[in-house]
């Protein structure tokens, strides 16, 4: 059974021109548009599907359309043409620690970020201790995050995201460059093994990463995107070796 079906998906972005989105400009353009709009083709006729439990990797250079493709699958962007079908509860994660507010305490941030990830307050209460323990920041729960180091924020963000994901029904996981919490080596090792546990738990995963090592290690199939088009799709070893050349 296919968990994700992407059929002939295309996406065009309108390039933003300075000064074109002010009220006066809208008014004058209505009568005489002297600045032509520029369009960028970000995705061009993309088709593939992902089977249940499969881990699909997407690689490509910066600007090749990887993140946009993931955002279209997630429903953050709508496609201009084509069709995207998701058969199951989907979570899109672009970075660990979405929703962390500097001026709030660590405790308040756990409850806020958890809510943003679709958890009820009761559920967050249940996993609160686990999050604090995994992060190793038990002594700082009442401290404002603005006083945290970058590594500590990374630890907190990763711990919230991973435990929320583990404790909610997720059938499709869309991960965009989520490896690497920015914390020390000890936590990084712990974080990677936790991530591995999640990826291998049987959920369907689409993984965007620049880390060819990670893509090669976890993915069943890999798509190489180039200028918004699928250049190659196939076994990780073959696609990665050709891409690396």
């Amino acid at each position: 059974m296919n968990k994700i079906e992407v059929k002939n998906v295309s996406k065009v972005f309108k390039a933003k021109i300075k000064g074109k989105d002010v009220a006066l400009s809208h008014l004058t353009n209505f009568f005489h548009d002297d600045k032509k709009n520029t369009y960028i083709q970000v995705l061009d006729d993309i088709s593939f599907d992902v089977k249940q439990g499969e881990i699909l990797g997407i690689i490509g250079r910066n600007g090749s359309g990887k993140t946009t493709l993931l955002q279209v699958i997630a429903g953050v962007y709508s496609s201009d043409s084509g069709l995207v079908v998701r058969n199951g509860e989907t979570v899109y994660l672009t970075s660990m620690g979405v929703g962390i507010m500097d001026k709030l305490s660590m405790k308040d941030n756990i409850f806020l970020a958890g809510a943003l990830m679709g958890m009820s307050q009761k559920k967050i209460k249940d996993i609160y201790e686990e999050i604090v323990e995994f992060s190793g920041l038990g002594d700082f729960v009442d401290m404002k995050v603005s006083q945290f180091s970058k590594g500590m924020v990374g630890r907190l963000g990763f711990s919230i995201s991973i435990f929320c994901l583990k404790n909610r029904t997720t059938e499709i996981l869309l991960l965009d460059e989520v490896f690497g919490s920015g914390a020390d080596l000890e936590f990084e090792t712990k974080a990677i093994s936790k991530m591995e546990e999640l990826i291998k738990s049987g959920v369907t995963v689409v993984l965007v990463s620049h880390s060819l090592e990670m893509v090669g290690k976890y993915c069943d199939r890999v798509i190489w995107l180039d200028k918004g088009k699928i250049r190659e799709i196939g076994q990780p070893k073959d696609v990665i070796s050709r891409y690396a050349k």
Binding site: Q71, Y77, S78, S95, L104, F111, L112, A115
Partner: protein, 260 residues
């Protein structure tokens, strides 16, 4: 029927998340200190003192309970201006969330309204204190939540429209600052319209705020039943503004992520 059920469940989910966001925003604004709340009162109190002095000298105590008349008008109008003023940047201000997690953008509009409801509640306490000082029966304040529901619907509806417009017109916030000030002067917040046939009276016939303020002042301060026309007016303004706002917002919400 299925669509209504879906929309109801969507609004419930959005509302619960909005409440968490509003709570967080309120904490951030006040830095977790109870003293921070004083800042919310400072704005209406300073306006109140200046206008009380100005209005008092114009009306020479001819308006019964003028201080209560003025303060109620001020805090109701301030709630509307404060919510709508910030709503035009509510989507672009949260683009980090909108682009990185699957979240209903309606959440941010509701959160903005809720944050302002928290501060409005504090202003209402100030108003109750004034009623007690003026020895006005505070029992009629029990009607305020009912009036406030429609004021909230109206304000949310306008906010939804402004939030949508703000995505496409970056200087909408500045435009609204000017238009909002004009509306403030047109609405009898600190003055009294004694003759409805004057030009300002005719204009206010179509001004939703004139009806909201008249109904609230008549019931709470003067213990007078409002006219059926005014009551129907505030219900209609509230419900229609909300439904129109929701319709416009829903029509455009799918393209917010790529336009912010």
């Amino acid at each position: 029927m299925e669509r209504i059920k879906k929309e109801k469940s969507r609004i419930t989910t959005v509302f619960l998340l909005s409440y968490q966001l509003a709570k967080a925003n309120f904490k951030v604004k006040n830095e977790g200190s109870y003293l921070g709340i004083i800042w919310y009162l400072l704005n209406p109190i300073s306006y109140f003192v200046v206008l009380l002095f100005l209005g008092g000298s114009i009306y020479n105590n001819s308006v019964q309970y003028y201080p209560a008349y003025l303060l109620l008008g001020l805090i109701m109008f301030n709630f509307f201006l404060s919510v709508t003023g910030s709503s035009s940047s509510v989507i672009s201000g949260n683009k980090g969330y909108i682009k990185s997690i699957k979240i209903d953008p309606l959440t941010f509009v509701f959160a903005n309204v809720l944050t302002n409801i928290f501060s409005h509640a504090i202003e209402i306490l100030l108003f109750i204190a004034l009623l007690l000082y003026l020895k006005i029966n505070i029992l009629f304040m029990l009607f305020y939540p009912l009036i406030f529901i429609f004021l909230c619907l109206f304000t949310t509806g306008i906010s939804l429209i402004f939030a949508t417009v703000g995505v496409y017109i970056s200087d909408w916030q500045n435009i609204w600052k000017v238009l909002g000030s004009l509306l403030w002067f047109v609405t009898p917040v600190f003055y009294v319209i004694k003759k409805s046939k004057t030009p300002i009276g005719q204009i206010n016939y179509f001004n939703p705020f004139f009806h909201f303020l008249t109904v609230a002042r008549n019931i709470i301060i003067y213990e007078k039943p409002p006219t059926t026309f005014s009551v129907l007016g505030i219900i209609a303004f509230g419900v229609i503004a909300f439904l129109v706002g929701l319709y416009i917002f829903n029509r455009k919400a799918h393209s917010f992520a790529e336009n912010v």
